[in-house]
């Protein structure tokens, strides 16, 4: 249960400690990649809660989303169109949807437990 948080903290520490400089041009890609990663993680949590979680989907989704977002941004930079906005929009919407679903599931679960508790006590 605590393993994901541990991993997140470890990654954060690594990211904060690395001192590699990347060109300013690629900062857009990084922000999109972060968004894609967050989207995948929340998607995974939702899938887990809905009991449709699949390792392959999760892993492939993670890397494919990141690659797709980066590719879109790359294309956008070279075409002179801000295509990365499309990626940000899509991921943003999905992020919110996923979080909403997670919230709803958690609320229903909590209510169920509460009702059960109430039945038990009564």
């Amino acid at each position: 249960m605590w393993l994901p948080f541990l991993g997140l903290l470890l990654g954060l520490a690594l990211g904060l400690l690395t001192d590699i400089q990347i060109p300013v041009v690629y900062e857009n890609y990084l922000s999109i990649a972060v968004l894609a990663a967050l989207d995948t993680i929340f998607g995974g949590i939702r899938a887990n809660l809905q009991q449709v979680y699949d390792d392959k989907v999760f892993l492939s989704g993670f890397f494919f989303n990141i690659a797709l977002a980066a590719g879109l941004a790359f294309l956008g930079v070279h075409l002179g169109v801000d295509l990365y906005l499309a990626a940000i929009f899509a991921f943003g919407v999905r992020l919110f949807q996923n979080i909403a679903v997670i919230r709803r599931i958690l609320i229903t679960k909590w209510e169920e437990r509460h009702i059960k508790k109430g039945e038990n006590t009564v």
Partner: protein, 235 residues
């Protein structure tokens, strides 16, 4: 068996989640670092802007100082101009004086009322063996010229030859040499100036006129209302 099952579960699911979480965390941390750098850069820009602003302010202050200096100098100049206007009369006076001095130097042609003094050798005196006693010497000419100069003659000429400030007059037997040109008697000395003053100066008792008569020289003094003399440069 149970343990292996747990292990396999860990390896399959949790491992993937761990990897994904680590990479996500890494990306987030890295982005944070980058954003921090950017903020730092922005603050650098701010510092630069600040320094430019300070420079600008100092320049403006310098401008102000210079403007004040300019105003001070202009005021000074105006004072000078006022001074100048006040002194203009004086300048006119100086100009007149300069003109007079030029006349004396003979640099410009002179004309106006004046007198003409003619010095002629005395009558031949058979009793005298020395002709020096009745001919005009350069000293007589000197005397006349000096007297004229002292009494304010603007310009003097001898036999039409304008005298300079550094003219030389030499006795050369029966003739006198003025600036290399020889002139015989009679000598006509013309002087531009106030007639009354000049004549009275010459005719003062015991003065030049009397001395000349004493030396038995025939002297005539005429008043002339208009005498014209060339400048020394015209010759």
């Amino acid at each position: 068996m149970k343990k292996r099952n747990y292990n396999s579960k860990f390896t399959k699911k949790q491992f993937i989640v761990l990897i994904v979480c680590i990479s996500t965390g890494f990306m987030i941390g890295y982005s944070y670092n980058l954003a921090k750098d950017e903020v730092k850069m922005n603050s650098n820009y701010l510092e630069q802007e600040e320094s430019y602003r300070e420079e600008l302010i100092s320049q403006q202050e310098r401008n102000k100082e210079l403007t004040e200096e300019l105003i001070a100098l202009q005021t000074k100049r105006r004072e000078y101009e006022k001074d100048f206007a006040e002194n203009e009369e004086e300048y006119e006076h100086l100009l007149k004086e300069a003109e007079n001095l030029r006349l004396l130097l003979g640099e410009i042609p002179a004309h106006g009322e004046g007198i003409r003094v003619t010095l002629k050798d005395g009558e031949y005196n058979p009793n005298s063996t020395n002709p020096n006693e009745y001919i005009v010497h350069e000293s007589h000419v000197f005397n006349v010229i000096n007297e004229l100069k002292v009494s304010g003659a603007e310009a003097i000429s001898i036999n039409g030859q304008r005298l300079k400030s550094n003219s030389y007059i030499r006795c050369n037997g029966p003739v006198i040499t003025i600036d290399g040109k020889q002139y015989p008697a009679p000598f006509i000395i013309e002087a531009v100036g106030d007639q009354e003053t000049l004549i009275s100066a010459l005719k003062i008792t015991g003065g030049v006129f009397d001395q000349l008569l004493n030396d038995r020289i025939v002297v005539t003094i005429e008043e002339n209302d208009y005498i014209q003399m060339p400048s020394i440069n015209d010759e």
